[in-house]
Symmetry: C2
Subunit: 279 residues, 2 copies
Amino acid sequence: MELHGDTPARSIVLRPPGRPGFVIAPKEPRASLPAAPCQTCSVRRLCLPGSLDDRSQPIFDSLLIGRRRLQKGQKLYRAGEPFLFLYAVRLGTFKAGLPLNDGDEHVSAFHFPGDIMGFDGVADGRHRTTATALEAAEACAIPYAQLMEACAGSTELRKRVAQLMGTQLVREYRTTQLVARHLSEARVAGFLLLVSGWMRERGYSPREFHLRMSRAEIGSYLGTSLETVSRALSLFARRGFILVHSRRIELVDEPGLQAFEAGDHGLGRAFSAAPVVTA
Amino acid sequence: MELHGDTPARSIVLRPPGRPGFVIAPKEPRASLPAAPCQTCSVRRLCLPGSLDDRSQPIFDSLLIGRRRLQKGQKLYRAGEPFLFLYAVRLGTFKAGLPLNDGDEHVSAFHFPGDIMGFDGVADGRHRTTATALEAAEACAIPYAQLMEACAGSTELRKRVAQLMGTQLVREYRTTQLVARHLSEARVAGFLLLVSGWMRERGYSPREFHLRMSRAEIGSYLGTSLETVSRALSLFARRGFILVHSRRIELVDEPGLQAFEAGDHGLGRAFSAAPVVTA
DNA sequence: CGGATTATTGACTTGCGTCAACGGTGGTGG
DNA sequence: CCACCACCGTTGACGCAAGTCAATAATCCG
């Protein structure tokens, strides 16, 4: 499950092994930022600034203390570390993993540009998940304490922060609902539709996209084995609902997938055009 | 799945069918409250007031606009309704259900005294879940807009609200992790331990408790059938890990359950005292 | 181009969902 | 207060879905 760890540490690490160039937690600042860093950001709409007005935006700008650039496999923070920063994903994809007793991790969420990561630390001041980059990525660090301070002065900002946490919570509800589905095909179909929606929200094609995560990570997220994920994808492809080229996915018949998600096996639906053999 | 609905409505209801005595959403006030209603509340610690100081508590007190008393099966709010209030559970148990396409619902959370319900509406101003009382219950209504206003003036309050949302989020992560476990016995064992923890937090006995929810509701929550839940409970009882009398549960061998949660089938563990026959 | 990682597919086995019947519990009304 | 009834929980039988093990194939690295 641990793929490209930048350190061999597996279990909960309260303080990451000291590697001077790569200190992770307490003092975050790295590359300094332009005066109004969000202005030119392509995912501004989705990110924390969202619809902040001209009064609130500068308040927020002053909080951004740096960006972090990560290679595939590097970690933004680890479960157990003190929670000091929220991170706005600027580029790339992340997974959030909840540690399991046996040293493995359960992938509990994926994060895309515009997402805010780190809310899992708000509860008690320690991160509960480990955030790992699935590809080259970039994230903006937002010091949480200062953000909360700034919330005193801006109704807009206050609303926005609450809204983002609420969104995370609802997303998680939906995830659980997906994982709770009985048939694994329904889970995989739902996952594809979920990813498609995330792509749409970000202005990418919802029909054709590149999965940044491995089958094993999808399986962990969905509560199935990686083989089952693979089989489900093959099945959908055979039925003509999708095209699969390794991690590149094209949705050909979205309603067909929706039928699968509903547990209909894609059979007997008016909109499922494929020949359909139960085999 | 719908057990004791107070109205026959099943799918998303934007405005509950008009029943003068039972209007649910927009104007909530009911029984008027004493001047400092939280002061004598037995679950104050866990609830929103938590550790609010003498300056912030009155601010919060002034927000509480009423309590609602519910019978078993009645609903606090429904998915799709406008989100105007958070609710603090004062008494009783609730389930939060996410509607499924087919009219059924997926139980996404259980709520106990001290819990704040309704955060699912923060994202976009509409409730995403339906909150149903599992027994006679009582909840305090907190107008969300006013709460957010009040947050401008109190750092304490701001922190507390964020903390509570964060706690909900982490809880949901844990739920998903539980549901994602492969073996259903691990899920049921984990559920019992979860409930035990909730009981402990509230000062009830963590060893002996009464499940307020049906096997079907547990099954929905865990993503298994009600029969499987029942079978798992019977198995644990046969192994001597628990005593089951319908909904009354006694944990006899907690480590044994933990082994099950870890997927060890309770076998070969030093602390599992039972005879253990694989049958 | 070569080695390592990741994905696919098959065969086997088991977990568990479904259907069905029975038994217990709790609530209601006579 | 007891009897009835509806609901809920338990248990068994059966068949399918999917987890596991294993071998091959494709892809991504350097």
